[in-house]
């Protein structure tokens, strides 16, 4: 008995050693952190603190969205891919970060991803059958909302309050997802771990290049391709890289 225990412990020990050293030398981890702001201001929910280019004061009440198909591109053109769908919901901390594991060593010059879901994923059953995903259901063509961005705005002058529901997704044969690409400066992966903080400026959905007018498009835009196209064009620059930080050097065995 005794002998066996000693043997087992020895075996466990070497397994432990082996697993810490198993990682290929030079690999690193990138953690993406998703934050939000409006017009460069901090995001405060439920208050009419922001004004969009079309001239309405607006509040933000809820925000939920998918981003997917993450790619890091190295200076030599080679790519690291993470075929994952990330769901982000304001106020739900577990959705704040996404880990990109085992990124090979090198200098990376861009991060790209799809805002929304690609055509293959955006079908019934394309995502895991969870309550969260089912709550993102998009009826026509059947699939999922890319984003639900909801709040209220005020009519200038009268102060009348109305709701806006910036719900994006495919319609009328247009996929409407957005290919986002962000340049990176100085992402050197080499046995280290990086935090990259991305910020979505919510007001960018409503400007540049199109002045998005809540009254003009009205409360129902899911099947309005003009509204979807305007949002798609505006959405290209909603994300920016706010900061990149090296977090720790992993132990080299």
């Amino acid at each position: 008995m005794r002998k066996i225990s000693v043997l087992t412990i020895g075996l466990l020990f070497s397994l432990l050693l082996f697993s810490t050293c198993k990682k290929d030398p030079g690999e690193g981890t990138v953690e993406l952190i998703f934050e939000h702001e409006v017009n460069g201001q901090d995001l405060v929910l439920n208050e009419f603190l922001y004004t969009c280019e079309a001239g309405y004061e607006f509040s933000v009440i809820r925000l939920k969205y998918y981003i997917s198909n993450f790619v890091l591109t190295r200076d030599d053109g080679t790519e690291y891919r993470l075929d994952k769908v990330h769901y982000r919901e304001l106020g739900v901390d577990a959705t704040r970060t996404l880990e990109m594991p085992d990124v090979p060593a090198g200098t990376y010059t861009s991060l790209s991803f799809i805002y929304g879901l690609d055509q293959e994923t955006n079908v019934p059953g394309g995502l895991e059958n969870t309550t969260t995903n089912i709550n993102m259901e998009w009826p026509m063509p059947p699939g999922y909302h890319y984003m639900k961005f909801e709040g209220k705005y005020k009519i200038p002058g009268t102060g009348e309050v109305k709701a806006y529901n910036t719900h994006t997704g495919p319609t009328g044969g247009n996929q409407n997802f957005i290919q986002i690409s962000l340049p990176l400066h100085g992402l050197e992966i080499d046995d280290n771990s990086w935090d990259i903080t991305l910020v979505m400026d919510l007001n960018e959905w409503y400007q540049n290049p199109n002045t998005y007018d809540f009254e003009f498009f009205g409360p129902m835009i899911m099947e309005n391709q003009n509204a979807q196209a305007a949002l798609k064009a505006n959405g290209a620059d909603v994300f920016s890289v706010e900061s990149m930080e090296v977090m720790e050097l992993s132990i080299i065995c």
Partner: protein, 320 residues
């Protein structure tokens, strides 16, 4: 309530603890059902939960059983503001104002301990219950925790997924919606009626809390629990499954018929600071359907009636 002898004979209380795992059967298009690892579903646990649900012994003075108000024939509700029990396994916040949040075990423990104020000693002294608790949990110890767990196991079997609409969704069955029902489906699941943003998905509820514009000065709702002014007037979105069977409607039972409910969504919405943005047409009083369209919507809602569920023998009283 006296036990019927056949039950005692089927599972005689005895010293062997060997619960039989029970796999819950639900349609593929339902979300994955999370079952807590410390309360796996077993034949013995479900039977005990079912007995407790139908037995007034659970009540502090045996005045009523859960099933006195939660009647199977009415989707486990009865006239009044009683929330039906249907697909609650997927719910994580309970009661109209969200007073109990978390697992089904938690709400069931609450129902026994706080609502019914179960006298544990009466179950302990009962000739048979200690044996049934042993069979289910390996201990004759009768606690609110074990009562909650048994009730939760039974509740998880209250799965409704065989309405006409469910059968229509199955490609292998020749079940179709009528023209009227289909037009109603279209109103429900598009921005025309825009019911699906809250009552959507296969469960016909998002299991969240919203102010759907019932009043210009809404009731407290979730605010009562959270004290967050944004939660004023937010109530749990009820499932619309079996809605035909669960009149009257809303948390204060203000509407007697589905017609009244649809009139409300069509013309009767009220603005208030916390009215949900998803009530997209609150600023103009509602979605303004024609009489014909209202009829279509109601015809569709009636396709959510599951008569198999309300007659399923496994969900009925185990006592007769």
């Amino acid at each position: 309530m006296a036990f019927v002898r056949c039950n005692e004979e089927e599972i005689p209380p005895g010293p062997v603890y060997d619960p039989t795992p029970l796999a819950l059967d639900y349609p593929d298009n339902f979300p994955i059902l999370d079952i807590p690892s410390d309360n796996p579903t077993t034949v013995e646990g479900v039977l005990l939960g079912r007995m407790l649900y139908y037995d007034p012994i659970l009540h502090r003075d045996s005045a009523q059983a859960c099933a006195t108000c939660h009647l199977q024939a009415l989707s486990f509700s009865s006239p009044g503001n009683i929330i039906p029990h249907i697909n609650l396994g997927w719910s994580t916040a309970f009661l109209w104002n969200g007073k109990v949040q978390g697992s089904l075990e938690k709400i069931m423990t609450f129902e026994s301990e706080e609502f019914f104020q179960t006298k544990l000693s009466r179950l302990e002294r009962h000739p048979d219950y200690p044996g049934y608790f042993f069979k289910a949990f390996g201990s004759e110890d009768i606690s609110y925790e074990h009562i909650g767990k048994a009730l939760a196991q039974f509740e998880r079997t209250l799965i409704s997924g065989s309405s006409k609409y469910d059968l229509y969704l199955r490609p292998d069955l020749p079940v179709f919606l009528s023209d009227e029902e289909f037009l109603g489906f279209d109103i429900f699941f598009t921005e025309k009626g825009d019911c699906f943003h809250c009552h959507g998905g296969i469960l016909f509820t998002d299991n969240l809390f919203h102010n759907n514009g019932l009043d210009a000065t809404p009731g407290d709702g979730l605010f009562e629990i959270t004290a967050d002014p944004e939660d004023i007037g937010r109530y749990k979105t009820p499932t619309l499954r079996n809605i035909e069977l669960t009149a009257p409607y809303m948390h204060d039972s203000r509407y007697q018929t589905l017609e009244e409910v649809i009139d409300f969504y069509s013309e009767g919405l009220h603005q208030s600071p916390t009215v949900d943005p998803l009530m997209k047409n609150a600023h103009q009083g509602g979605i303004h359907l024609t009489a014909q369209e209202k009829g279509y919507l109601i015809a569709f809602l009636k396709t959510l009636t599951d008569t198999v569920y309300v007659n399923k023998p496994e969900l009925s009283s185990p006592f007769f």
